[in-house]
């Protein structure tokens, strides 16, 4: 079943089109990643999906409700957390939880259960009376997530939830996101950390308000970069580089420490050419192998080729 179905969603601010005719679907219990640079239209899309910004045209069904016609029903079924960790810094941990519980109108039995849960995931049991502003960033972030889903929504939107948090806290946070997904909550997350994209079941890459790539990590890496990357381990590397360049092998040759990357069109198998070119020379060739492109490779390639056209 689809948790979210977006059809031709468009948002214009005056003459500027922030989101242009975007369509995609998100399955229930999926971790769905939104990638793209600042200003790519990620946040505007999320705001429309949360029902706080009315689309200029198109529509989206979120948890079965139209963001255009039933924004209030949409809001009731989603949770939202922004990169600002929107908690009240001058309230205590427990007052923050109580406030959001109250705002969502939780009845007391459910509330107590959810409060316990929120304290647990943030690691704040026994510290309910701490002023929220005094908490370290990572803990605040988890508390913010706890309060954002205090009402057990079907879907939660996380807008750059891990910016400004140290790597260990980031890892813990992703464990938490996984835990939510296992409880059948759909998680939509925007990020510009590409290594975080690897944690997502499905991804879209946005640029200038349009989706320019979509799929899971494997599909993105294989369907969008029509090139093969060869990694050559050899000695001496500098001499190897010169020889390869003289022979015009591949499209691009770069040195990475003591290895060399050759990027070549997929259709040509250049492994043999490389071996042949190097065999006649005084070079110790340890290995030549095809490697997986990283998401960085793919996205840089996609954004650059889009700009060229």
């Amino acid at each position: 079943m689809d948790s979210i179905e977006v059809n031709n969603l468009t948002k214009k601010f005056g003459g500027f089109t922030a989101v242009n005719n975007v369509s995609f679907k998100v399955k229930r219990g999926e971790i769905f990643g939104f990638l793209g640079a600042n200003g790519a239209g990620k946040t505007t899309t999320i705001k429309m999906l949360c029902g706080i910004l009315t689309p200029s045209s198109g529509d989206a069904l979120v948890a079965g409700f139209s963001v255009k016609d039933q924004p209030d029903m949409v809001k009731r079924n989603i949770g939202y957390m922004s990169q600002k960790f929107s908690l009240y810094n001058d309230l205590t941990v427990s007052e923050n939880i109580e406030f959001f519980g109250g705002v969502y109108g939780l009845e007391s039995k459910l509330f107590l259960e959810r409060k316990k849960w929120a304290l647990e995931i943030a690691g704040l049991r026994g510290k309910e009376k701490t002023i929220t502003g005094d908490l370290p960033g990572g803990i605040k972030q988890r508390l913010a997530l706890g309060t954002a889903v205090i009402h057990k929504p079907q879907i939660v939107f996380l807008d750059e939830p891990t910016s400004g948090v140290d790597p260990i806290a980031r890892r813990q946070f992703w464990e938490l996101i996984n835990q939510l997904a296992q409880e059948d909550i759909t998680v939509i997350v925007t990020t510009h950390y590409l290594e975080e994209a690897e944690y997502c079941n499905s991804l879209i890459l946005m640029d200038s308000g349009e989706i320019i790539a979509r799929g899971n990590v494997f599909e993105l890496k294989n369907n969008y970069l029509n090139k093969t990357i060869y990694e050559i381990e050899c000695e001496p590397t500098l001499l190897t580089l010169e020889i390869l360049e003289e022979n015009n092998i591949g499209d691009e040759i770069t040195m990475y420490g003591n290895t060399i990357h050759v990027i070549a069109p997929k259709k040509d198998d250049v492994e043999l050419t490389i071996r042949n070119a190097l065999s006649s020379q005084n070079i110790l060739l340890k290995s030549v192998k095809k490697i997986q492109p990283t998401l960085d490779d793919v996205f840089v390639h996609l954004l650059e080729s889009k700009n060229e056209t």
Binding site: F13, D72, S82, S86, E98, G102, V103, Y104, G105
Partner: protein, 379 residues
């Protein structure tokens, strides 16, 4: 609209308010400061005029005159001068506000029928208002004094004179023409509109600055629940403030409420809601607490000080300016509470003011929501 959601918002807002010592200080210190400033420092009443005397007659008559003058609350003889050359100095150096010169022939003329005895008064005219009042005191005093001399004179001749016409003016509602009595209602208005609009504007803009506003908009809270929930604590604080100022007005200046406390509470409530709406309008326009603070204090304080009739009577303003006085809710509130506090009259005398007052929240909320809509489409 759900009550328990509203209660959650109000509870949170109240806790934040109680924890914000700086804001609390401002809320409760500001009224006291204004009360003291307007109650004591700004006093339009003229009493105990400092008077210097140049007595060139040195007669029993001149001494009696001085004695009588000094016995009133209006004049205090602060200095006796020896020569006319000292008059200017006494006025210039602010030793005296007025100098009375008794000419050498005073006693002689007083005792001679059909002869005018003359007295000269030199009054410091820098503050025209005060000078006029002093002149009035002088006129009244000399009139009464000469009437008494006349009576005595005729008595000595064996005739009894009854005063022809005596005017006893009774100033209704403020018999002693004390300015505190006149100022107190306006003071309450200004304190309420400034504290309510500033605190409400700050509280809403803070949510904007910290990103919690966005969080609230995504929650299932609707704007009515949010606005009422957030404003309630400030409305409560403002009502407490009003009660405090009234109590202080009674204790310090003896201004008691003549009319119905219930009607007064009703007027205060409507006015506070209007002030809150003004604060919300400011918060919609401004994006930082700094801007909100300045804008809110400016557009709440200035009109309520200048246009509301608080200090300057609306009736004596030019017609065109009189139109502008309708722009601040303080104008209507002041009229209403003057009627309640000072006159003690019933609703039939000021209900139109309350109706006009009730229009303000409606207009201000409408304006705020229209601006919000426009902003969201451009954001």
């Amino acid at each position: 609209m759900k009550l328990n959601k509203m209660r959650a918002v109000a509870k949170k807002e109240f806790k934040q308010l109680l924890r914000d010592k700086r804001l609390l200080f401002v809320i409760f210190f500001f009224p006291i400061l204004l009360l003291v400033v307007f109650g004591y420092a700004i006093n339009f009443d003229v009493q105990h005029v400092k008077l210097a005397v140049l007595d060139r007659d040195h007669s029993p008559e001149s001494r009696l005159l001085l004695e009588k003058l000094n016995a009133t609350v209006y004049f205090d003889v602060v200095k006796t001068l020896d020569s006319p050359s000292e008059i200017d100095e006494a006025i210039n150096r602010k030793i005296a506000q007025a100098v009375m010169v008794i000419p050498p022939d005073f006693s002689k003329n007083v005792n001679t029928p059909l002869k005018d005895a003359k007295l000269q008064f030199v009054i410091d005219g820098i503050d025209g208002n005060t000078a006029t009042i002093i002149k009035n005191y002088v006129d009244t005093f000399t009139e009464l004094y000469s009437a008494r001399l006349n009576a005595k004179f005729l008595n000595r001749l064996g005739k009894v004179i009854t005063p022809t016409i005596s005017v006893t003016p009774l100033f209704e509602f403020n018999p002693d023409l004390r300015s505190t009595v006149f100022l107190l209602p306006g003071l309450i208005a200004m304190i309420l509109i400034v504290t309510a609009s500033v605190t409400v504007a700050l509280s809403f803009v803070r949510e904007k600055e910290h990103g919690t506003e966005e969080q609230l908009r995504v929650s299932s809270l609707n704007s009515i629940e949010l606005i009422i929930g957030k404003s309630l604590p400030f409305i409560l604080v403002s009502v407490i403030n009003a009660a405090m100022v009234l109590l202080a007005g009674y204790l310090l200046f003896g201004v008691a409420v003549k009319g119905s406390l219930l009607l007064l509470a009703l007027a205060v409530l409507i006015f506070v809601i209007a002030s809150t709406a003004l604060g919300i309008l400011v918060s919609v326009i401004s994006d930082s607490q700094q801007v909100a603070f300045q804008l809110a204090s400016l557009i709440s304080m200035l009109p309520s000080l200048i246009l509301s009739g608080f200090i300057f009577p609306i009736e004596s303003m030019p017609k065109i300016i009189q139109l502008f006085t309708n722009l601040t809710p303080a104008t209507f509130f002041i009229k209403a509470i003057r009627a309640i506090i000072l006159k003690g009259v019933g609703l039939q005398n000021f209900w139109p003011q309350l109706v006009y007052l009730s229009l303000f929240p409606i207009i201000l909320f409408g304006l705020s929501s229209a601006i919000t809509k426009r902003k969201m489409d451009r954001a």
